[in-house]
Amino acid sequence: MGQTSAVSLEALRAQIRALEGGTPVHRRRASTGVQLIDDLVQGLPCPGIVEICGAPGSGRMQLALQLAAQVTGQRRAVAWVDPLRQLYPPAAADYGIDLDRLLVVRPPANGSHPEIWATEQLLRSGCFSLVISSLPGKKGARRAGGHQWARAAERGQCTGVVLSEYPVRDVPAEIRLQTGRGQVSVLRDRNGRSGHQRPLQDRPFQADPWS
């Protein structure tokens, strides 16, 4: 979709919001401090939802940790919803995340998807600039409640980053990125940058400091 079409769509959405009489929502792309993301999609929406999908080990965590490091470096708090209990804090510290500003939420696995509820509460609260949520689940699984995240992020004026293995249709992501084979690709971008690609930083294979 060209830039002209994207601009026209955004203007149309603004007109619809004005007709419906809702509170105007100012959408902006804020620089993240992560060069790769700023080059790729010119920052992340605030408020808004971003999805990063990819298999474990494909680099999606690298992007999320870099984003969190930038936010905590600006003395703001980050919440991380980790239902699979796999987030490894020593790695987070390696990326420069200030652990004092990181809240970890590990909902129990009781079948009612409490991670969906927890993510919405964190987005809506306004207490965090960035809320990262790792979604477990299989390809094509539906997750009731994800459509409320966009509104919750608007209310809380924050950015939500959803990490998943496969694209989740129920999540109204303004930007959808995919990692794999050393690359990060833009699957969807309302600003019209779909299809763009950049290589990921080759972090684990950097020069061994002990060699």
Binding site: Q86, G96, L103, V104, V105, G126, C127, P204
Partner: protein, 525 residues
């Protein structure tokens, strides 16, 4: 000590034909809904015109057709009807945020806080009628201090009724006993002694009613006499081991929505008492006393509610309690609800910190308390690093926000020269370097290492067998990084060779246990 009524006002919208109107019928058409009951298809809902023809609920469909051959009959679709009722409730949230549908043909709204926005009680009644007309539903509306009273008047009187203080008894007097929604046993018992209408019931002696008909009889007698049945008892040292408590009798509330109506009054009284003592609630308990039935083991449910930041703001406490009630499933109707303050603190007020976000819609302590209540104490925490060699023990949970934050590291990037290190002492320089000289660790660490198979070729890894992908070739690898420890404890000694492996477009952290010789997948980068 009994205090005055809580000042709540209930607007009840009676929709005599909603269940058929949503199916496309009008109130003046002879139509009925049927559902299977007692092994037969029976009428469960009727239009007013069908009632005038002599049809009654509970009649079999065949008997109904025999009586009125032209009756239109539809099968009840409970799920669709529930959705339409929920949509109706949402529509009426334009008048109040406290809306419920506790009965099939009525909506109940608590409007004490919103009436003034519509120009008074008559104004809000007019607005409610407009909403019904827009949706194409016939309605009758009543507004009173008690929802059962308002529902009785809306159902049995023509037109709309606004009950002023002192008028309820006179207005309800001519109505039949069934308007009070009394149990069949109570209705039959009263008819047996010649009591046919609410006026006669209200004249009965209180002690006799209590003795013969119990709590239900007493509760309904108060309503029949125009008294508020939800008068609260509040006092220090009252109930539950001397803790301040407010309670309300609910006469069989069957849904948590009905409990919401009692909250504002209870909390207003409780918070006023806390204010008199300069105290704020830190922890409260909501106790629900259930109807006494032989088939349930517990006669009461205790719901702890954490408050986060100590408060005596009724709106804050109500929000926390309503959130807590969302997941509650009642095993039996609730006869009584108590709210007790388990822990209080002197209220010194709260000053937001310089780093608190102005965008915050909820104080952080309240959010953390709600999350912990819903998810469990262990589910919400911060993290701190631990000086341990075993990777899975290199961190532990801690409270958040931390009471004693660690000073920020003087460097951020792996391998960067530490800032602020100007010493000539080589030991100090080495100590400053060491934390940054650690090899990269995986962003994801599996809670339990997953056994895998690995093929090696010489000193390098050649192929890895991943559970969902089968054998994949290793594009590159780095290692081994040998880690070991706890040699002094036989049952805990461990020795592993870790490798960073790239295969199938992904980077994994695997290790070989040198005691067993087995390979495991431990994490992902």
């Amino acid at each position: 000590m009994v205090l005055a009524s809580s000042g709540l006002r209930y607007l009840v919208v009676h929709l005599p034909a909603f269940r058929l109107e949503r199916c496309g019928y009008e109130a003046n058409e002879v139509a009925a809904l049927i559902a299977e009951q007692k092994n037969a298809m029976r009428l469960v809902a009727l239009t007013p015109a069908a009632r005038r023809e002599g049809l009654v609920s509970g009649m079999t469909a065949s008997a109904a057709r025999a009586l009125v051959p032209g009756v239109a009959i539809e099968a009840l679709e409970p799920a669709a009807e529930h959705e339409d009722r929920c949509a109706l409730v949402r529509t009426f949230t334009a008048l109040s945020d406290r809306v419920g549908a506790p009965w099939a043909d009525e909506l109940v709204l608590e409007v004490s806080c919103t009436t003034h926005l519509f120009g008074g009680e008559h104004g809000i009644v007019r607005r409610a009628r407009e909403l019904c007309a827009n949706l194409g539903h016939e309605c009758r509306i009543a507004l009173a201090a008690d929802p059962v009273c308002a529902a009785a008047l809306a159902r049995h009187r023509d037109g709309d009724t606004v009950v002023q203080p002192g008028q309820a008894r006179a207005l309800m007097a001519p109505l039949p006993l069934s308007a009070l929604r009394a149990s069949l046993y109570l209705q039959e018992s009263l008819r047996a002694v010649g009591v046919e209408d609410i006026g006669q019931y209200a004249h009965l002696d209180a002690a006799s009613v209590a003795g013969r008909f119990g709590a239900e009889g007493v509760h309904l007698r108060r309503i029949a006499r125009g008294q508020n049945p939800r008068d609260t008892d509040v006092g220090w040292g009252d109930h539950l081991d001397g803790r301040p408590t407010a309670k309300a009798r609910l006469a069989g509330a069957e849904t948590t929505l009905q409990l919401h109506f009692a909250l504002p009054g209870l909390l207003a009284q409780l918070c006023r008492r806390l204010g008199e003592q300069d105290q704020a609630a830190v922890r409260i308990q909501v106790i629900l006393r259930l109807e006494n039935r032989g088939d349930i083991q517990q006669q009461r449910m205790v719901l702890p509610v954490r408050v986060g930041r100590a408060t005596r703001n009724p709106a804050t406490l109500e929000r926390l309690i309503r959130s807590r009630l969302e997941d509650v499933r009642l095993e039996a109707p609730v006869d009584e609800m108590l709210i007790t303050v388990c822990e209080s603190a002197t209220d010194n007020g709260w000053q937001p910190g310089l780093t608190d976000r102005t965008e915050a819609t909820e104080p952080l302590p309240d959010l953390l308390a709600r999350l912990a209540d819903h998810l469990g104490d262990d589910a919400v925490h911060g993290v701190e690093l631990v000086d341990a060699w075993r990777p899975e023990e290199a961190w532990r949970p801690r409270s958040w926000p931390p009471q004693n934050p660690h000073p920020p590291l003087p460097f951020t990037a792996l391998g960067a020269i530490p800032a602020g290190i100007h010493s000539d002492d080589p030991v100090q320089v080495q100590d400053a370097w060491e934390p940054s000289a650690q090899r990269p660790r995986p962003a994801l660490l599996l809670p339990r290492p997953e056994p895998i198979q690995v093929r090696v070729r010489g000193p390098q890894l050649h192929q890895v067998h991943l559970s969902q992908r089968g054998w994949v070739s290793v594009v590159r690898s780095r290692g081994p990084e040998r880690m070991s420890g706890e040699w002094w404890a036989i049952e805990r000694t461990w020795k592993r060779d870790y490798w960073v492996v790239e295969a199938d477009g992904r980077i994994a952290w695997v290790y070989r246990d040198l005691h067993t010789g087995r390979w495991h997948l431990h994490g992902w980068f």
